[in-house]
């Protein structure tokens, strides 16, 4: 059976990650450390919010998982910009893969990385830090898939909007930090001023946080997280549309950054 170009691209990038695993590993270890440091802090927050049975990890694990999921998007951006710096972007396309195949491989890679990362963080949280998912596992998985799709499409949009790799990473840091804070991943939204609460709804992080809270603390199922999942996919659609629009403009100009 012939290997499809998308699979070849994915396989090729996995070799790259294996040769240089430091970025991926730091994006796994750092949230693990932060989750355990901040869990005691969140224990007080949980009781203040009236969730008496909830542990600190019930808040720290989803918060850190979300913030670092968006940071994981950096690996996708890196893998795209790398192709331009190595002059391989064009070469690959003459060799037999389309731009769509290339991006498809990168999208799969990103999705796998983000999902792998969240799985590890939730496992560590559950096994070591006292995270207790009260609601439906299926709902949790659906939410995490929604987050992964959102992270990947956001990364693509940023790559196409930025004029250079350093710009892409600068925007990424600013936007990710701002919306993890605004969206309530670090400080629960109830503890923030009302104007922040109003702003929060325009961040995908807010919808992810509230969905995860619903499943983890509130014991919700698929029905309860439907709105969150829908919002995550809506954000993803917007990001994809931006990426497509920018790519089509770039293609006209010979696809240069």
């Amino acid at each position: 059976m012939p290997v499809t170009p998308v699979v070849a691209v994915l396989h090729h990038d996995l070799i790259w990650l294996r040769r240089d695993p430091v970025p991926f590993v730091t994006l796994l270890l750092t949230p693990c450390l932060l989750m355990s440091f901040t869990a005691p802090l969140y224990a007080g927050v949980a009781s203040r919010l009236g969730h008496e049975g909830a542990s600190g990890a019930d808040f720290s694990v989803p918060g850190m998982a979300l913030m670092f999921a968006f940071f994981m998007g950096g690996v996708i951006k890196e893998s795209i910009f790398r192709e331009f710096e190595l002059h391989t972007w064009n070469r690959v396309q003459v060799s037999g893969a389309s731009a769509g195949d290339l991006l498809g491989g990168k999208i799969l890679l990103g999705g796998m990385l983000v999902l792998g990362q969240s799985s590890v963080l939730f496992l560590v949280g559950g096994l070591l830090l006292g995270l207790n998912v009260r609601g439906s596992m299926v709902a949790l998985i659906v939410l995490l898939v929604g987050v992964a799709v959102c992270v990947v499409s956001f990364s693509l949009a940023l790559c196409t909007l930025a004029r250079s790799r350093s710009q892409a990473f600068a925007y990424d840091r600013v936007i990710t930090l701002v919306w993890t804070v605004l969206g309530g991943a670090l400080v629960p939204i109830e503890l923030m001023p009302s104007w922040v609460r109003a702003l929060a709804t325009v961040t995908p992080v807010h919808w992810a946080v509230s969905g995860l809270r619903e499943v983890i603390v509130g014991g919700g199922g698929l029905r309860q997280v439907l709105l969150s999942v829908a919002c995550l996919f809506a954000f993803s659609l917007v990001f994809c549309a931006i990426a497509l629009w920018r790519v089509s403009k770039k293609v006209d100009r010979g696809f240069r950054w």
Binding site: P2, P5, L86, V94, S95, G96
Partner: protein, 303 residues
């Protein structure tokens, strides 16, 4: 039979700057076409238009009978392109690079091993097959770069200065491989500033200048049309004046065009006569592609 490559009236501008205008090319199966020209003449632009990477403003480009810009999928995997900039993955080993480009080029899993081994063997890469490309020397990296364009046995091969930075042995290996590939029926477009390579390849030549095609033909034709052998007489001080047809003075050199160096060298030495004491050396500069090339660029007009 449709030619592998047909370019008609090709024009390309970058902003206000006109890089190519009215370029016509045809190349058939098994043919090696060398594209020559000064830095900035548009060779790389021409090759990347043919590869379908750069758009053009005027004219028609058909690769393997297909308009590449309109139907890129139709020629996918049938072109091998080694651009001027080295484009390989430094983190991956030689073999991983070749397997990747082989797979993308449509080589089936069963045939991949053999294709990769063959091209590594031909370019003396077998010993470094498991070395990451970043640990190779510059010339070795250049070899991997060329190999990646050949591994899927494409029908049209575009090699943009493949021998830059290569040692003489590498250059010889690569030229042999290119000649063998052409013999097997592939069409090769080759650019280089080393004119000796083009003579060794016995290629058909196109000279680009001012965005146009200045001359075209087999090496031997261009040489006989545009170059003449010269006797080169070097003197102490300025050379004496002479009525030799076409003679040129170049500092202490006197260049005398000749159709028959063996006879004319005797005439020339006799003619020097009294100035013999000042004569330092006599050489024969044979008509070659280099002198033809310079004459074509100097004349700057299509034959």
């Amino acid at each position: 039979m449709t030619p592998s490559l047909r370019v008609e009236g090709l024009g390309k501008r970058y902003g206000e700057r006109r890089v190519l205008s009215g370029v016509d090319l045809v190349a058939g199966r098994g043919e090696i076409l060398a594209v020559l020209g000064a830095n900035g003449a548009g060779k790389t632009t021409l090759l990347s238009i043919i590869a379908g990477i750069t758009s053009h403003d005027e004219g028609d480009v058909r690769v393997l009978g297909v308009d590449v810009r309109a139907h890129p999928k139709a020629v996918r995997g049938r072109i091998g392109w080694a651009a001027q900039d080295t484009a390989v993955y430094p983190t991956h080993t030689v073999e991983e690079n070749l397997r990747y480009f082989g797979t993308l080029g449509g080589v089936r899993r069963g045939g991949l091993r053999a294709s990769v081994d063959a091209v590594m063997e031909a370019l003396d890469l077998t010993r470094s097959s498991r070395t990451p490309v970043r640990d190779l020397s510059g010339g070795q990296r250049r070899r991997v770069h060329a190999a990646c364009a050949l591994v899927h046995r494409p029908e049209l091969i575009l090699l943009d200065e493949p021998t830059v930075g290569a040692d003489p042995e590498t250059r010889r290996d690569l030229l042999r491989l290119v000649a063998a590939i052409a013999r097997d029926g592939a069409t090769v477009l080759y650019t280089s500033h080393y004119l000796g390579e083009i003579e060794d390849l016995d290629a058909r030549v196109v000279v680009l200048g001012g965005g146009r095609c200045l001359a075209e033909g087999p090496v031997s034709d261009l040489v006989s049309r545009h170059a003449r052998s010269e006797l080169v007489l070097r003197f102490h001080g300025p050379p004496p004046t002479t009525h030799w047809p076409g003679a040129r003075v170049d500092e202490d050199l006197l260049r005398l065009p000749t159709a028959d160096p063996a006879i004319d060298i005797i005439k020339a030495v006799e003619w020097v006569g009294a100035e013999r004491d000042r004569l330092r050396s006599v050489d024969i500069a044979k008509a070659d592609l280099e002198s033809a090339y310079f004459n074509i660029l100097r004349a700057g007009s299509c034959p």
